[in-house]
Amino acid sequence: MNTFLKYSSSALLLGLGLLGCQPEMHSPKYDAGTADFSKYIAVGNSLTAGFSDGGLYLEGQVYSYPKILSEQFANVGGGAFPQAYFSDAQSNGSGYLRLVGFTTPAPPDEPSPITANVTTNLAVRGVVNTRTNPALPVYTRVAATDVFNNYGVPGIRMADVETAGYGNASSTGGTFLNPTPIFNPYFERLLPANTNDTYRARVVATNPTFFTYWLGNNDVLGYATSGGVSPITATSTFSDINSRFIDDLTARGAKGLVSTIPDVTTIPFFTTVGPTFRRTLTRNNVPGIVITTGAFSLTAPITRRSIPTTDIKDPALGGNQLFTLTAAPYLPLFGRPGGKAWRDVFAQLRPNLPPGTPLSAFLLSQGIDTLQVFGASAGNPIPTTLVLDDAEQGVARTATNEYNNALRTKAAAKGLALFDSNTFFSGVAQNGFAANGVTNTASFITGNLFSLDGVHPTPRGYAVIANEMIKAINAQYSASIPFVNPNAYRGVRIP
């Protein structure tokens, strides 16, 4: 019996001892590699600022990809990363879109999302009368003593970074006959009043040890989202400015990451409305539609183009022609006489028309007769601003590829990390992006990566971008910076 007790107690002890065996995994070694993250500066446009849901507001700033990156850089010696936040009282910033519900049409018509503008708690401090906008909002300016590391400026193009007065509210654009640059209110809020410093000069003066650089989207995006109406930046201009900017940033040995520009034609802004419109036309046996294409001219009517219904792009069925998200309110008016679409085009274009041009003169110059049926007649075609046709897509794609070549070449010459967002987002458009058991896609609303404006990412989309940048940085600088869990950041919240 004694023997039994002795043996059994040692067996029990053995068992209990083993109970403590929580498996150990050696702590991961995070390492900055050959990079120095002590002062990280983010260079870029709306994507860098954290723009989302058609506006810049506090939540978007908090979940900007530079902010997410800085939190991961903190594991490898990264410093503080202050941003030019809107205050809590003005947390809605410029205002933004929120999803309030869905329409409930009788089938087979499909439900579509209903959005509303958030107009309270804005950071708008007033309006400025410019050449193109009689009431351009300006925003609460950061305090002169504020330091911030995120230089994301919504709307900025590569073509703007060397423009003096780009952040000075007195740059109102001159006159129709003698136009001059117009200031950017998002840059203006970052500068002291009446400062003519260029964007490039302000950024370079921060003297970063590490930077991310994602510029150039707006040089082609404006052209694309306006249906080919707004100008596109010449490749040589883009390439020269880009080269000078990166030379300056790296002159004192800073390391960094350069991002290419995604193909804009795969974003929900261009892929959401067309397939629905095509289904509706097919159901009603409409063989084709009439659109307009190209830029407006004051001397000749805009070019008409007849498009077979089957040429409207649907990923499952083929076709080539894309409709913008902004076309959604107009397409239900198809097949009926009416002038809403063209009245709105006129209102949009007015700042670019000779002062005092009446609507009737504009319609006459373009050969528009709103008594004809909308969308199905040459007299009342679908405005070019709502369609990105294959010719315009070709122009956008060519420019994007040329810009990207310039960006890649320069990044390689300077030994910088490269996030090829063009390749990455093409993959997302094809297959979605899976992490931690969830496949997020490039679909509007349900995909969770793109916000309600169909162009800018959600916080989750920005987290995915941050991960891809970390991957590129780790590879280029032999660093090991941990990823984030993208699913911990919100996608689109559904009412």
């Binding site: 059994s8 969770n448 559904i494």
Partner: protein, 424 residues
């Protein structure tokens, strides 16, 4: 059906979403065997032969009743590739208590033996911490099963005996839960789905032959058949989904069906008795896991717009090697040692959170003490180390298995157990 299979199987049930936790592949059907690395096919130790090799039952000298219970205590660490906070996750610890009961009868000197066995080849309960990275694959799993096996065995000669058992999958229950990646605007919560169902009763068999050509050598072969665990009309419950009709219309399922193949196992065992006091056993088990291609749930109404949900498994057949021995210190007192190597049926890049499987190494120890003629106590303990295993998101994408989580898993399991037996 051994514990390992059931546990793995259970994990599989979690499936679609499912996730993780408990594919703890441990054979715990007899307390003496548990102390000897799980050998038993080539031995006639006690009534647990009904499980390990029904053919050996007729060669078990005593008749008797025995019960055993084990506490499976798993400790798991997980480091996600895409981590939320950049440190390791630990599973909320749970303990399961597989048990076994055997009663064997027969004439004292006759050639027949009969018996009945009851065992719980799996019982897995796993609860992932709040907001863990794999929440959209699995948040909780609770699996229970009870198998009943009436058995007969006949000694054709002094050296050769055969036996068979009817394996009745008498009771099985599953509860799986996970979050749905749809976030409602009211309070920012994610949707949640719970699948709860009972398995149909099913029947399989367990047959074996036992041959003892020499006093010092015995050989056994046994085969346990495949059983499909099938849940029909289990309940589907959603919570926290957005109110919009456009979403609600995509999540209207109320019932689910699922089938999980529990594979056949072929076993070969050799026993060596160099002396009266020492017995050594060696077992090889071959589990035909390759039938487990995918886990497919079908629903009566849509779940996220689809009436089915399929998740790739593509398991491969796997071997387990076991070695163990016992030494009779005195007539009343016996000590045991053993070890096992268990090949994982889960291929690289296919690891699911409910079954974070990898090759396993086991070390076991045990002892028995007899109080007089009839009554004995068996103690055993097993330590199972599941090898650290990493899968990357790139592997998951390449395999089409992105419904699970990329990262590194490591699990240790400790299983102390106690058995009581009364022989006559």
């Amino acid at each position: 059906m051994n514990l390992k299979q059931l546990l793995l199987a259970g994990g599989a049930l979690l499936g679609t979403a499912a996730a993780q936790a408990g594919g703890f592949q441990v054979t715990l059907a007899g307390q003496k065997n548990n102390g000897m690395g799980g050998v038993g096919t080539g031995l006639a130790l006690d009534q647990a032969s009904m499980f390990y090799n029904p053919g050996a039952l007729a060669m078990v000298r005593e008749r008797g009743v025995q019960i055993g219970v084990n506490a499976t205590m798993a400790r798991q660490a997980f480091r996600p590739q895409y981590a939320q906070y950049g440190f390791d996750r630990e599973l909320d610890n749970t303990v399961t208590t597989p048990f076994n009961v055997y009663a064997g009868f027969g004439p004292t000197e006759g050639k027949w033996r009969a018996g009945i066995a009851v065992y719980t080849p799996f019982g897995s309960k796993l609860d992932y911490g709040y907001n863990w990275e794999g929440r959209f694959a699995l948040t909780e799993i609770d699996l229970k099963s009870i198998f009943v096996q009436p058995t007969v065995s006949y000694a054709i000669t002094d050296k050769l005996s055969v036996g068979a058992g009817l394996v009745v999958f008498a009771y099985g229950a599953v509860n799986l839960q996970r979050d749905i990646p749809v976030q409602n605007a009211t309070d920012g919560q994610y949707g949640h789905i719970e699948l709860d169902g009972k398995a149909d009763q099913k029947i399989g068999y367990n047959v074996g032959v036992y041959y003892k050509p020499l006093d010092k050598l015995s050989i056994g072969l046994s085969y346990r058949s495949h059983i499909d665990a099938h849940v029909q009309g289990g309940d589907v419950t959603f919570s926290n989904l957005p109110n919009s009709a456009v979403v609600a219309s995509r999540f209207t399922a109320t019932k689910f069906d699922v089938t999980l193949p529990l594979p056949a196992t072929a076993n070969l065992g050799i026993g060596v008795m160099p002396s009266e006091k020492l017995t050594i056993g060696f077992d090889v088990n071959y589990a035909q896991w390759s039938k487990y291609k995918q886990l497919e749930f079908t629903f009566d109404q849509p779940v996220n717009g689809s009436n089915t949900s399929s998740s790739i498994r593509d398991y491969k057949n796997s071997f387990t090697f076991r070695l163990g021995g016992q030494y009779k210190v005195t007539d009343a007192f016996t000590v045991r040692l053993g070890g096992s190597f268990d090949q994982s049926p889960v291929k690289d890049g296919y690891v699911t959170p409910e079954t974070p499987d990898a090759n396993r190494l086991g070390a076991t120890a045990g002892l028995s003490y007899k109080f007089g003629e009839h009554f004995g106590v068996d103690l055993s303990t097993q330590f199972i180390s599941i090898k650290k295993r990493t899968q990357t998101q790139d592997e998951l994408v390449a395999n089409g298995t992105t419904d699970r989580v990329a990262g590194t898993y490591k699990t240790n399991i400790v299983i102390p157990g106690i058995g009581l037996n009364y022989t006559f």
